[in-house]
């Protein structure tokens, strides 16, 4: 072991492995849901009776095309026959078409400003092909998911882990993800979260998003080379925005704001989306805006037992 270089391995090169072990956090992230109220676009209603909104608890980690089958079935009776054969697309409260290839939770954090339930408008007509891609079937979603996984693994382990996995493990990842099976997904995913104790991944798969400019990616290493300490969220953000003023922004992931001193290695292991990327939303912090006190939510003590009514039609 040389004094000035990296930490020593144990005897004879046997290294201790660390992995994502904090199951409590992993489960909280996995089980996070968003209450979504789907409404058909006003101008597309072709029948006399107006459709009721369709309510669903949607997992934050999934993609919209995986959960909208029921939505489509609910609304298809209300649209004109020509439109009924088309692929649906969604737009959020601001009228922006929702890119389906963003995880649901990410889009919500970025644009919906925490208002619950999230009102999403369903369209059958006028697919904005210039803004969002077509998604004809679930396999399109799967191939994007897998390609993100491979990219993340290339950043973390030079691609070794994904390449050594068999086809059935890849299937297990997708099936576990799609069917909301935590154990199934994580028993395969844990291999992708392994790293050597004291070293971490090669690079951290991380992307930043702001409401104006989406999808930025930079090279972030888990350990700062000059100081030898674990890189924190604070330092990682400086890579993206060198002139950032931390008092004016909020960084949100999965709906929470992690402390800036959190090591990105830990964040990558535990708070990545299932595609193994950390998708961070960087938003301006509005003074006086508290994330948890929106009008539709009041403090737990007053609202005991009252619940919002479910869908009227099954």
């Amino acid at each position: 072991m040389s004094l000035f270089t990296q930490r020593p391995a144990n005897r004879k090169g046997q290294k201790r492995i660390r992995m994502a072990e904090d199951r409590e956090v992993l489960r909280e992230i996995w089980e996070a849901r968003l209450p979504v109220s789907f409404q058909l676009a006003q101008d597309e209603v072709a029948t006399l009776n107006v459709p009721e909104p369709f309510y669903l608890m949607v997992p934050r980690l999934l993609y919209f095309p995986l959960v909208t089958d029921k939505v489509r079935k609910h609304f298809i009776q209300y649209v004109s026959p020509e439109a009924s054969g088309r692929e649906i697309w969604l737009s959020d409260g601001n009228g922006q078409p929702i890119k389906w290839n963003y995880p649901i939770g990410l889009w919500f954090d970025l644009f919906a400003e925490g208002a619950l339930p999230w009102t999403v408008t369903v369209h059958f007509d006028g697919y904005p092909e210039d803004k969002i891609m077509r998604c004809s079937c679930k396999d399109t979603v799967r191939s994007q998911f897998m390609s993100y996984l491979k990219e993340a693994d290339a950043l973390k382990h030079k691609g070794n882990v994904m390449n050594c996995m068999q086809e059935k493990d890849h299937n297990q990842l997708w099936q576990g993800f799609q069917n909301d099976k935590f154990d199934q997904f994580w028993s395969a995913n844990k291999k992708l979260m392994e790293s050597v104790v004291g070293e971490g991944f090669r690079h951290i798969p991380i992307k930043c998003y702001t409401p104006e400019k989406l999808a930025m990616q930079r090279i972030v290493k888990p350990i700062d080379e000059t100081t030898g300490t674990w890189t924190t969220l604070h330092d990682a953000l400086l890579e993206f925005f060198p002139t950032i003023d931390f008092s004016t922004v909020r960084v949100i992931i999965h709906g929470v704001e992690p402390p800036l001193g959190t090591p990105v290695q830990w964040l990558s292991e535990h708070m990545s989306y299932p595609d193994n990327f950390l998708h961070l939303s960087v938003l301006p912090s509005t003074p006086g805006f508290s994330y948890f006190s929106t009008p539709s939510l009041s403090s737990p003590s007053t609202e005991s037992g009252s619940r919002v009514s479910p869908n009227s039609s099954s």
Binding site: L3, T5, D22, L56, M57, N179, G255, P263, S306
Partner: protein, 976 residues
Amino acid sequence: MAMSMASHHSNDQSGALYGVDYSGRVWTFNANSKTSTGWSMLPVNNRLDIKRLTSISGIVWAISSDHQIYVFVPKRDVPIRVREEVYENERWNPVNNFCDQLLPTDRPHFSDETGLINRDKSYIKLPSDSWQWESDWQIVDTFENQLLSQDGWTYAIDFPANYKSEKSWNSMVRRRKLYHYRRYVAHNRWNKIEAIYEDHTKEPFVDVSVSRYGNSEMFCLWAVSVLGQIYFRSEVSENNPEGSYWHHIEIPKGLEACQVGVSGQGVPFIVTWTGSFLFRTGLTPHNLSGSDWIEIGGPTGGLFQVSVGENTMWAITRDKKCWTLKGTVQDVFKSSSSAAEWLEIPGKLKCISVSRNDQNVLAVCDEEGVVLVRYGIADDQRHGQQWKEAFPEVSWDSISVCSRMSEVDSIDGSGDTSTASIRPDLPPQTQFNLSSGSESGDTVSLCWIDGACLSAIKSRHDGDLEVGPWREEILTNLQSLKVGTEKFDYPNAVESRASSWSKSVKARMIHKSKKEGGVNGELEISNNDTLVFHKSMQNSWICSVRDVLSVILDSEACISFSLRIRNSFEDGRAEIVSFRFSNEKECEEWRTAIVEISLKPQEQCKLANLWLTTDAGEIHQCGQIKIAETPSEMDIITPAAGDNLKFHHPLVRGFCVGSELRIDISIPADAERFAFNFKGNDDTAFHFNPRLDVSQVVRNSYDKGEWGEEERDGVFPFLKGQNYEILFQCSETHFITIVTKKHKFVFAFKHRILPRNITTFTAVGDVTVNSIRYDPANPEDVERLEFISNPIPGHFWKLTAASNGMVWTLSYDMAVWVYLLNSKKSLKLESNVIGPIHDEKVFHTYENQRWNPISSFTSHGLPTDRHSWTDETGRIKLEKEDIKLPSNKWNWVTEWEVDFDLKEGVDKDGWQYAIDFPASYHPKKNLRDFVRRRRWKRVCRFTTDGPWNLVQNIKLVDICIWVRNFFEMKNKTKNV
């Protein structure tokens, strides 16, 4: 007034550092000591003025101002004891019975075991003043595991013959073995080692150096005298720190040594006044002093000072230039050629030293007396990149010399301290700040040098990522977010489908309880709680993972493991099923998956201080869990045709007081009679027989082949074609039967046979039983404790536990380990308690050769001979390549080496000779010896992490713990 420091390295992970200050006192550095700087004086009782020192394994040799060598042995837990043995021989003669008058051809009165060496008691003396006899001569009183008579004599016909413990009519000689121990008592003081001549001023010493020979127990101690002559001290080891004799080693004529050093492997080298470098070849375990000197050409300028690590060599020449050897040291030593290529390293240096593992090179710069360290040493860059200043804030005396550095790999993450380095001549309270860049709380690693300087170089945090307060914050935020969204009781977008996922693998299952052979099939785990083994298309074996009690590895090979499964059908016996996989990785994966799922939570399981060790070296901690029995609906089993038996079911827990059995029956329209029986093995405790033809319910019992007295009284409640509900209860005195149909009809039958012998319930005759419900007696009374075991990481062969919760174990390499967790605490292993564990195994193979007149000894033997590479018996062929590691948790530590450690003795190449193969072997070749063999060994090591702590400095063969009065604890151990 030089300042020099020595260091020690040992086989285990700790290092230590010694320093000498200007007044000749020796200080030792201990990172954990209570002084603020970590330096404390060496605990010596006599004060000497020390000039130079060298050390190994805690023992320090030093040259004092009178130019004599002194040795310091620290006091340890395990004392240094040497056993001296002697045999006393006597012959019988008619006059004096057994006496010490022996024939002239006999062995001496006191001899060693073979009788060849005279070991008269007067010859056996204490080697020096540092030793003391522990006791007088004692008689060994066991012989071949039998107790001898009080005087300990064994008898034989003549001297080299079979000795027996009893005197028989033809015993003409006898002998007994005596022993006593001598103990090293001169701890913690400087003990003078004898000089070369009687008059120590004739040739005093100027330099001394010690190292270990390879990985063996022997040390190599070399010294230089003032006349430039080299001396080697023989037989220096931990058990004999003073050594035995000085041997003068010749050096080539005309040369005079000014420096002696020993490389990491034990090879000594000298630097002469003329600037030449010579090293010693021909070192063998028998001849640690070697046979020849080989000179290596040094760089131009003449060598001044040299330091040798394992593979690299650094030197300073007289013109203050720094050089390093281009090739590796091993190559140069082996090739024995005088040419060696040197690479100049820029820098003007005064002296240099390199650590034993080549990683750290320190040098003292010429002008400012600044200490430099070589930066950038890596595997591909053995000579580093540049010099950097080591301790900018500490100023060093320009005379301070770095001479040798030794091992640094003690920094294994556990060497984190935050102490500062100081010049040891300052009073202990002086605090120093570290070089810039260090903040408080940063870990500092220490570099052990033996030379002038000591460095406290900051190293990065070796540890794992530590969880901080941010985790709690994130978790609470996530949880409150969840609470906020849960108010919305919308339906789920994604239903968890009933069809679960499963993971499967091909394996071979052997059902040990049923004594079946192996069956190939597919093992599947579905939904994380059920194990299914598909044997063939229809046939499968299923069990719930919750029912798995233990998971045990079958053998060292780690490709199969066994499960002990709770079997609810057979009392007390667990089902044992074993699975074998095609490779180790799959086995390990499945084993850990099943262990994780079946690990019982703390509340359910009461861990006892009960441990299990297996042949594979695994350790399990055992406990018991309560299985509360709930009342169960029993299946109706259709009886065999032709049997008048309508219903038959075993009552697994008998029908004790408090049990109930409830049945619903239908009586067919043409019924005549039917009966219910509570049967034991060959008796019937209660026979309930409603007879519709005579409208009576007959109650009786059957014992020892006879029916007892019938009870026929009472109302007859049954009618043909109706349904009834009957409840059978067992009270303390009676069987109570309650028939319910609009009204309750009660029958009481006094116990004649003890109800606890009841094993089955049968229904016979014209009745149809529709359902049955069996409530055994109060479950707490009949609770079953199941024996489970949880594997703990570790690899040991013997474990002993005491009643107060202490657990000590021995590994295969005779090291002792202590269990760190309190067994009452949680099963989850906290990471701060886990440390590295290792175990070593040695593999042997024998190389056999036969002599033939043409080509002397060759490996071609006669056709009837054993193979040239075999095991000890010669029957099993064992080539070196065939010997593989038991599982991939093991790693080879050494290459194949000749083993010199055979019982009968070996010659200098390790051969032992014999007339023919299975005969007695001896080390010297006689005329009639036509075969020879030698043993090769290779060591492999198993490493893992677990909650065990190594007890240093001791190797044991056996261990047991006895707890006395719960206040004291004594260890009874048997040392090797």
